[in-house]
């Protein structure tokens, strides 16, 4: 449902709630009681649920993640003209949804992954407004990046399973799959956002 329809619905529910509140005598009749029940219970809950769903949807968008100034360089790193940079390669080749590029890789693919990601997001906000904001190149993940997030898409993928570097040693692929060997910190795919080196990087000019 488009956001403006949801906003309009929520606004209409607010107006109806006010009207019922200032015409409280309505509640003396049977029809008035039904209208009050709709205006003060059914519609507000429906409006809040729709709004919540829209907010959760927005919270997964790239615009949302990059709306904080400190994240600008991370957004720019998606355009580095070098395929060895994992986020840039995924973003530029549409290997992740472009409008959800951040969330796709930075959520936990577990039952409560989205909730965990949002709780971490609240922590970011607390730091942003009440803490000391680190420089972009000093931002670190709270926990080491889990292979599970890569394997969510790559597991079973032919290019991943058959790639010769993944068979350099006999047990490499199984070690990666079991999480014993990290995809990103074991020296194989070490170029992630690397925002500290952005000033020397060249960038891809996206065709309009």
């Amino acid at each position: 449902m488009p956001a403006w329809v949801i906003s309009l619905f929520v606004a209409a529910a607010a107006v109806l709630a006010l009207v019922v509140g200032f015409r409280a005598r309505l509640t003396r009749s049977r029809e008035g009681k039904i209208l009050t029940f709709v205006a003060l219970f059914i519609l507000p809950i429906a409006a809040a649920a729709l709004g919540f769903s829209e907010q959760m949807d927005r919270a997964q968008s790239r615009t949302f993640c990059l709306s904080c100034h400190v994240m600008n360089d991370y957004g720019r790193s998606l355009y580095i003209d070098d395929p060895s940079y994992i986020p840039a390669r995924h973003f530029q080749n549409h290997l992740v949804p472009r409008d959800r590029a951040c969330y796709t890789c930075h959520t936990d693919y577990t039952m409560f992954g989205t909730v965990t990601a949002k709780i971490k997001g609240v922590r970011h906000l607390l730091v942003q407004y009440f803490g000391t904001i680190p420089k972009p190149d000093q931002i670190k993940l709270y926990v080491p990046y889990n292979n599970r997030e890569c394997l969510h898409c790559h597991l079973g993928q032919r290019r991943f399973e058959e790639a010769s570097p993944h068979h350099k040693t006999q047990d490499l692929l199984s070690a990666v799959k079991s999480g014993q060997k990290s995809c990103v910190s074991s020296g194989c795919h070490e170029f992630i956002h690397d925002v500290g080196s952005l000033k020397d990087a060249t960038f891809w000019n996206e065709p309009q």
């Binding site: 509140g21 009050t36 003060l40 507000p44 927005r58 968008s61 997001g121």
Partner: protein
């Protein structure tokens, strides 16, 4: 003022408060929907939703009050 009139006046006052809380909560939610930003998300969850919830609960309480027998 008779008891039933007093009771209905109390109920109507509660309904008025409930409607104000619900409307205020929904207004915060509409404003939070105007902009895509983490603060909008937090305002929606931390201010908008609780106001609506309290308003709904107050309305439900008024229903219970209205349903109470006048005298024992």
């Amino acid at each position: 003022m008779s008891r039933s009139k007093m009771a209905s006046s109390v109920v109507e006052t509660r309904i008025k408060w409930a409607s104000l809380l619900v409307a205020a909560g929904l207004l915060v939610q509409v404003l939070a929907l105007l902009r895509i930003h983490p603060l909008s998300f937090v305002a929606f969850l931390v201010i908008g939703c609780p106001l609506v919830a309290v308003g709904c609960l107050l309305y439900l309480e008024s229903l219970v009050l209205a349903d109470k027998p006048e005298s024992k």
